[in-house]
Amino acid sequence: MDGGESVRSGRSERSERSHRSHGSSHHPRQHHHRGSSGRPNSNHRDRRERDRDDRSVTIKTPGQGSDVEGEERIQVQVIQQDDNWGDNTTAITGNTSETGFSMEDMRKFAKEMDDNYSVGFDCARYVGTALAAVLSIFGFLSPIAMIVLPKLGIFEWKALAFGTEIDPMQCRPECEGLLISFAFKLLILLLGTIALFFRQPKATMPRVFVFRAVVLFLVFVLTFAFWLFYGVRILKARETHYYAIVQFAVYLVDGLLFIHYLAVALLEIRQLQPQFVIKIVRSPDGKSQCYNIGLLSIQRAAVWMLEQYYKDFEVYNPYLENATKKPAKLTGFKVYDVDGGPNQTNQQGRSRAVFAAAARRRDASHNDRFYEEAEYERRIRKRKARLIVAAEEAFSHIKRMQEEQGPAIPMDPQEAAQAVFPSMARALQKYLRITRQQPRYTFESVLNHLAVCIGHDISPRAFVEKYLSQGAVIMNEKDYKSMQRWVLVCDQLLTREIEHGTYFQLRQGEVSLLCTVRKIPHFSLTEEVIDPKSNKFVLRLNSETSV
């Protein structure tokens, strides 16, 4: 059996007629079937003799007359087959191999595999963030713990009072001031961290995010060191001056604030100043764009590029590739007669010549391509004009209820949309068809969009704008997913910074983005002063020439 390609038909007589079959990979078996089943083959098989009883076929070579001695007779034995499942009709597909999968099947499988993996890999998305959250909470709560612990009385401080009247654990004015500043610093740290770092991570990167790891490491080291000193100096040595403890905690908060400053500088501010220009080229259709970018690692630069890509690039429409190509004229092809039999070798020789001629014709058709594209553009413009006219006419039927004086039936926007849509439905459908967008928009989605536009007093051209171009990738409703997978390919380590001449590639399905990095050159500006005294001019009324 072919690799899932062939369409099985019931046992029919039509299957005996020649079909456009693909390639020359004919099974000898098919000859058997053709030979053995179906009665009305006699007109095709004049030169064959068939003995149906013992299911063997004799095939004669052509052309030498039927009664020449020594002609070849090929005896072919047909194995008893179950005829109930009928003949195979092969259809033209993208598969040239009879045993392999076609590319469409592979793509289907690949997609399923990706979806299956999504459950497992989602944990990876949150591990980094969870670790960061744990460490920062640990760092945040440490100073609070440090000043609260002595007051809790767990460690029996008070028992070791020096016998003075003043309880050193009580908070006195300078200590109170310190406590207030401590509280405020903590509050500022909290607000700053929440404002900047408490958000959904926008990307899961393949390698460790180096700067964040550095910052977290510093937080951990600082807190750990402080706890170490706290344990040794304060708990063990039973420090009784509360002022000292509060001061110790305040120093920890200061340290954390400075680390927060470092985090802001490293993670947010460092990449703001543009130092490089990255050019993205999209692979199947060749669209390109350039962006400014600061100093980032390759993986972060890739994330940034994807954000820009989703906003700036048009949706890749795979059907547009063939939009301008007319269907290949196969009139020059020899239509394969599967029952060719004795003529097999000749036909193969002839077909090779035919293939070569067709290929040469295709090569010489660059002129045709130019004219086809011009013709396609013209047709698009014509349909676009018709669509806009139809939309304007349709919108002119609608008026706001307040403006209408006479008796009127009030409708809400949905109903108004349904009432008005049929007059422009055909023009819209034709336009969508020629721009190959019709799989993207369903009837309901168009109606919803129309209702929204009517309800907000949007002009007809603005309504139609959504359909006039392919639209930005992110605005594509049909393929919008909250998580998108991309594959990052680069020959350098992904945590290295981008440099002049770095290449990396982002891939998703058919779309492939090749990104090239160029460093913005150092600009050396020199000043030129125009001295007003020497900036004088004379009028040259009559030209003189020096000879």
């Binding site: 009324l541 009559n542 030209s543 003189e544 020439t545 000879v547």
Partner: protein, 153 residues
Amino acid sequence: MQDMAGHTAGDPLECYSIPIVLEKDADIDNQGHAVLEADGKQRYRCGFRIGGGIDQDPSQSPQGYPDKGIYVTYIHENSAASRCGLQVHDKILQVNGKDLTVATHKQAVEYIRRKPVLKMLVYRKGVPQLHKTGGNPQFQSYNQYSQQYQQQY
């Protein structure tokens, strides 16, 4: 100024003119190397400046020339022009046989630059000295509508 009456380009003209032969200097820069034209030939300098031409407007000329002829507007010192006797405000009538009274500015420059030796006919006001009364005017132009055709020298 009555002798400097304007002459319409293209009209027949009879005039006392001064023949001047100017041999150009080879142009040499500061280091003593010859200055070459674009095609590699030696460049020659005459040492004067010209103005005017049938495509120019004489009313705009700062020197106040009356017509559209080619006039010498400036002569460099120690140049071939000063040596050969050319003077400022001379009107050049002919160069090497080419009539400059009907030439555009660019054409006049081209004719002058072409050859290394210029044989010019120049009109200078007041030269040669003529008796003013009853004598023949130094400069006589015949416009189209004039019927006078007197041979005057």
